[in-house]
Symmetry: C3
């Protein structure tokens, strides 16, 4: 009985881990699109790294992560209308570590072009999908919840970087 | 043992709540895109409110919600091809209440422009993201499952309404 | 006590099923966008069917599914930059069977048009949503996990095929 209870507890904990991780990923867009630095600081490990690839500034350390959201450039993007839109993530849990692989769109309202009318849904010029990236989130369990140790994103542009992130998610199938 | 079992039960129930809530959110697009009024009536509280902001008709009461889906205007939108596309929602459960914060795209097929060919994926003029909104869903537990007490949406257009919804989701981080 | 424990076990198993199914759906885009045939072969039943509707080649049998991903045409699509982007799926679990209903976008980088600059997010011509489809996934539980018995997709183009898939998901509400 004790054995079985322990097993139920372990299974339940794994399920809770999965859901906590979903929420961590789902909290990222609200944080990015409002410039909530405190959230970024809370969910990244102190030495957490955000690797955006060549050409875009990343950050090392949760304080630097928060500062990125407070930068003038990021605030300007928010003022123009910015949406991080995340698909259903793939999660691989391994005890006190987890890897999440997800797709993310970054959208802004179109500034030009003709407005389209849709019945019961108003008129709109629509949205521009500015970036579409694959994400690898390496997470660790800490006393204060799951934290991001390393996040890597690469744009879907035909080059191999984004595919490499996806391949790692399914490395068990080859 | 009884104590521990109760605790497991309570934790399991919270997990089931989360998954039921995911399904409630995931059921919204099929309902909206087929005009299934019965679904809307079932998942909204009798006095549930849908607040679409200034400029678009909302509804108060689950019957009015259903009627909105049956309206000529909404049926015309469906006939033209309509897709509500929801990202991964953020959920905050608090006993018999829950708040979900999510992003939603509303898309229609492009009616003009050049078709693009993608190997193994046919030719298409593509899709127009007509609206991109943030959603706040205030839910309550009832004897017949989780119900929507109030849903507020605001467009991502640079104004503060959509950001306010996002900020509330991360109010614990400030 | 045994009764209650069994009940907890059954409930926990249903929760684990739901999360395993989420991961199965979330694993599809990485597989499709890298041409990982082994994944497709593993998650489809041996006699699993992929029905893409009239106009696009589907496949019957998990080996044929894998071969589709290895085809020259599919590899060419991948080389150009290909992203399958899945929304939050609706799941209906019934013992050893399950039905998942989901929306899927298939995107490619725009090959023409003007680049747009977004502060802190670089310049980009943006992405073309090439296809937007509804998906019905009929799953079965096997000794080696949940498998896809039949997957049907239909484009959102105003015709009834995609709506029929959505209607089935909410057949209990009519």
């Amino acid at each position: 009985m004790a054995e079985q209870s322990r097993s139920l507890e372990a299974r339940l904990r794994a399920v809770e881990d999965r859901l906590e991780i979903y929420n961590l990923i789902a909290g990222h867009p609200p944080s990015a699109d409002t410039g909530n630095a405190a959230y970024a600081e809370a969910v990244y490990a102190e030495d957490g790294v955000f690797d955006r690839g060549p050409g875009l500034a990343g950050a090392a350390g949760n304080k630097a992560l928060g500062a990125l959201l407070k930068s003038d450039a990021h605030q300007a993007a928010i003022a123009g209308g910015l949406a991080h839109f995340t698909g259903l993530p793939h999660t691989a849990l391994d005890g006190d570590k987890a890897v999440v692989t997800s797709y993310l769109q970054i959208l802004t309202p179109k500034k030009s072009g003709e407005a389209v009318e849709v019945p019961n849904h108003g008129a709109s010029r629509g949205y521009h999908i500015h970036r579409l990236v694959t994400n690898r989130w390496e997470l660790i369990r800490t006393a204060s919840g799951w934290k991001i140790k390393r996040r890597v994103i690469r744009p879907v542009d035909g080059s191999d970087g984004s595919r490499e992130i996806l391949r790692q998610a399914l490395a068990g199938y080859a």
